[in-house]
Symmetry: D2
Subunit: 352 residues, 4 copies
């Protein structure tokens, strides 16, 4: 065992986010995966649930209670679950990365309003850093607790925040029209994910009131945004991936392509996982989740219309990687002092 490897464990390891954490961490040169917990599958081999892990180091699910102290503890649980025992997890892991929603918001009243329940440990909210490396790199480096954002939030924030910071859009209305794959609904079957019903669907499952709205709003407000943010989410026939099409009406009229390029370049010049994609030829002229499957990239593109008075931003990523587990490993790299891209080098497949 290399002395440089950190002891890590994953709770909620049988879910899709948990499975991706295992895939990435088991191959990560700086991580020593000690335990993987799942209440439902305790005692079963990890490969029963995640057959892609068959050829990696064998691992058996333990129960969450059996998790031993470790350097970094990853939690990938349904909303409302991690807060129930966060006191305990903070003692188990020297550092904690929580992929769920529980610690993404600063204010307990935001939780109450959007998740319709009282937050169970509001005093801990301040200890968590919002885990998007591209906007919070320094804070994550020194953080002991990181809250991994929602996948729509990551895609949307990465697409919008540079525009806000560079004064291209601050007021008015912004509409995020999100196209979602089925894995975003998690690993538990339900009527709505039954294949004959879900295949081929173009289902407006959340036309208004999407919970990630508040995450996105808070981050952008911190940069001066004062717009009305609306999120509409449509489930399409795709397993992995999300494309957010963001409809923006720049302030004070016209914006130029150069303005937009400048904003993105300034913000992401040193971000290895953000790619600005705006080609005038080929089939992949704009961000495309299809080719991002398995990768940690977020692709961002845009197009202007009506003399710059309307701007369409497209942002794509793999909801289980850059939208969840990969982004968490990227945070882990920063927290541990590894190069930011360690273990996240997979370039993606074409065709797929």
């Amino acid at each position: 065992m290399s002395p440089d490897r950190l002891k890590v464990a994953v709770i909620g390891a049988a879910g899709y986010g948990g499975g991706e954490l295992l895939r990435l961490l088991l191959a990560h040169p700086g991580a020593d995966v000690r335990q993987a917990a799942s209440r439902r599958f305790a005692g079963e081999p990890v490969a029963l649930v995640h057959p892609n892990l068959r050829s990696l180091r064998p691992l058996v699910f333990c129960r969450p209670e059996e998790i031993s102290p470790c350097d970094v503890l990853f939690l990938s649980l349904p909303n409302g679950e991690s807060m129930k025992s966060m006191d305990r997890w903070l003692k188990t892991g020297t550092k904690v990365v929580d992929l769920g929603a529980d610690f993404r918001l600063r204010r307990a009243e935001d939780w109450k309003q959007w998740y319709e329940s009282d937050h169970q440990c509001p005093d801990l909210l301040d200890r968590f850093v919002y885990g998007i490396p591209e906007i919070n790199r320094a804070a994550i480096r020194s953080a002991s607790c990181v809250a991994g954002p929602g996948c729509e939030a990551i895609a949307s924030i990465l697409g919008l925040r540079p525009l806000v910071r560079h004064g291209l859009v601050r007021g008015g209305a912004v509409v995020i029209d999100a196209k979602m794959g089925s894995s975003a609904a998690g690993a538990r079957p339900s009527d709505s994910t039954h294949h004959p019903e879900r295949a081929g669907a173009v289902r407006s499952y959340r036309p208004t009131g999407h919970r990630h709205t508040v995450e996105i709003s808070r981050i952008l407000e911190a940069e001066g945004a004062n717009f009305s943010l609306y999120v509409t989410a449509t489930a399409i026939d795709m397993v992995r991936g999300i494309l957010v099409t963001i409809h923006v009406f720049p302030d004070a009229g016209a914006v130029t392509e150069k303005d937009v390029w400048k904003a993105y370049r300034a913000e992401y010049g040193d971000s290895p996982f953000v790619r600005i994609v705006k080609e005038n030829r080929g089939l992949y002229r704009f961000p495309e989740p299809k080719i991002l499957q398995g990768t940690n990239f977020c692709e961002i593109g845009f197009e202007l219309e009506n003399g710059g008075r309307r701007l369409v931003v497209m942002s794509a990523l793999d909801n289980l990687v850059k939208g969840a587990a990969g982004n968490a490993v990227q945070c882990f790299n920063l927290m541990a002092g590894f190069p930011e891209t360690t273990g996240l080098e997979f370039p993606g497949l074409h065709p797929v």
Copy 2:
């Protein structure tokens, strides 16, 4: 209400087979759909479960116990369910069409061996006619009880029986390699039909021991077949449809294309729903379930190899129509004296 219309009812109407029965019967000029029963959805509008029926006559699910006497009672229940109360259903419907497996086999011992339970009313087995119009037209016309076959069985029997009857294959081994859509698993969600797992799958869910083997075997044995029949079923990414690829080794060496054409033409010359598809040009040279969605057609094609010593037969249909509800309506047409194609005229879509 036309005096010619028969009163019909459907039990198990919330399932996929039941939904197709409703779609077909509600538009059928000779059927007056009086009731649709579902234990799970009793009291709910039919369109809640089958949204395609929104614009047809409104109907509310009743409980099975509430079904009133009718001319023809259709049952579309999970295996083992209809036999529990068949005594009762035979009193409810003047005629009964059961789409489940319970009354497909003549011999109770076959049921026991393949379905691993005792048949609960073996004395009723003889009252049911095996409901494939193309092979049993006369018997169905005069039947009061019809058992609708399994979808693989219909596709396979229609492909193989002419070959057996015309002496092209009687002994040796026959392999049926079936490619199945997800709707064949029914309307209840499970781990295996969860979209992220089922989408893109090529799942060998039944490499050996498929239950429809016995149905097919019994029918073919009655025509003199003496071969070992093997069925392998693979689930593919499709909702509706089945293609069986049947690998046949003709007896006594060489068979010619002419022999095979002759056998099919002789058997299906008067069968409006069987199409022999064997083109030498175009994209749809052989049977293709894709374009049969919603139709009552069974397409059959073939190709010879090795000087006629090997024969591949392909047979395709929509598992919910010709493989279940449409076939049952075709039986109903015969039982009621309507033209065989009544209410089953939909030609299918292209592209789709």
Copy 3:
């Protein structure tokens, strides 16, 4: 031949719109399909290209020049093609229904701006009625020339026009975010429709500047709309179908659900093919193109947010039926004095 049946012919019959016209017209009790023309496939059986038509009346493609005079001539050609010979076609068909874009716009300068070429017969533009029965029923009844709209235009206009007419939205910005199936691209293969590239794609192929914008704008302006209309089109993994998600910001603040219901009911009370879909239970709570495949329905739904200051309208249809051929047959029914729904009764499939 019934004396009531009208002689019809289809030019461009090998395309997807043309194939759907044949499917619908061959089964139409009031249509006698005399000829089907295709330059590329002249001399070939129609079923070579449209295998779903195998069991309908056999037909062989002729060349466009061979089309004889008929009662109603349908044209389904690529943009810019029908105008080349419209003088001739007006002599061939007593009435003409053109499914292409050439005669959808009233003003030649609109054509020039959006299609980047001079219109070749601007003097004929006035003879064509814009063919959406739900908004133009009387005019279509007495028309001799009908221009079938684009599929995004039909879906969008049916969703938006009642809101404009009832004063719910007139100014500001409206964003149409369209999710499109691959059949909208037509029957000709290209790099972008190659299955390995197109399958699984979420392709922003037209983020801005969609040509249907002008069609939609002109229709809505005629009702008093004065908003900026923006269309963004994304290709998703679907063959048939379109969902437009329309993001609307009602004028003068708050709108209520009742206002919106009232507008739709007033406009579509007598329209058999428009369904308002807004359920609070079930999987199909909003419009869903999946279950509309093969049908002539347009489903419209909506949801309000932010105290009625934002409205999401969803509108779904089958781009080849209500978005093209079915809508054209609906116009034909009106032009010929048949009941509006004749030949368009297919209710759709579930699951599919």
Copy 4:
């Protein structure tokens, strides 16, 4: 540049196999990709065609004629192309790995019979080693020329050869029923790969006479097989992946599970990329191409029936990786003295 890295080049680099070669070799610690040739795309950036390579080292396609001498030259060309200039390529590359069909067969008459043309350099056939490391490891290690097999051939040979070598099947008939993804047809669009036609298809595109039959036969005959081998290929709705379902009738009656396990273990005990998958629980009980996307694994499973008188073998792989480019890199590793798994460690995704 590390002195240990070999200079490599790829001809046919714009195709799907070529793209995968670039993906794997650009990330390979022992390969220095010097050039990538494509006649069609010469002068264009590689990422125009393979957008997944955007974040790897930029590369511009050159013309095949511009390829400079290198240590290992990879060719990934349509059938019949590499033989046209193999004399030249043998001078360009110190070693050559050809992924096409041209040099897979030992006998020119086999080529003539199955590819219906004269082989243009029959004298070179003997210089090529058939490139399946699992069966030819030693020969590949010392080879200067390797012919990469067809994807069905690799899957089928890996499934069948142990059975032949261990005397479980030698005579009789063996049927390979292959389910194929669309990427196997290559990167060029055609009518048959047009998305509206290809999506949802279950197309029996090669019921008999598949060319890979001869490859498989020759390899198995060398181990004593004397059976009639039949291949039926069906295209299903999948981009990457192949599952071959092999229907085997063991000689001399009964075979036991233990016999089969023993044969596979003996042959693949030291093969890192072959996994025997035969679970009695979980969703992934047998080989599944879905979870092998992007990986170099071949999964093999089996099930016995009828007292061991019938055996179904399932073999799955990613046709572009273990079925082409990954397998070629595995050969390259052996030829270069690298560990066999170098650059091929990707474990695959779940769900996907």
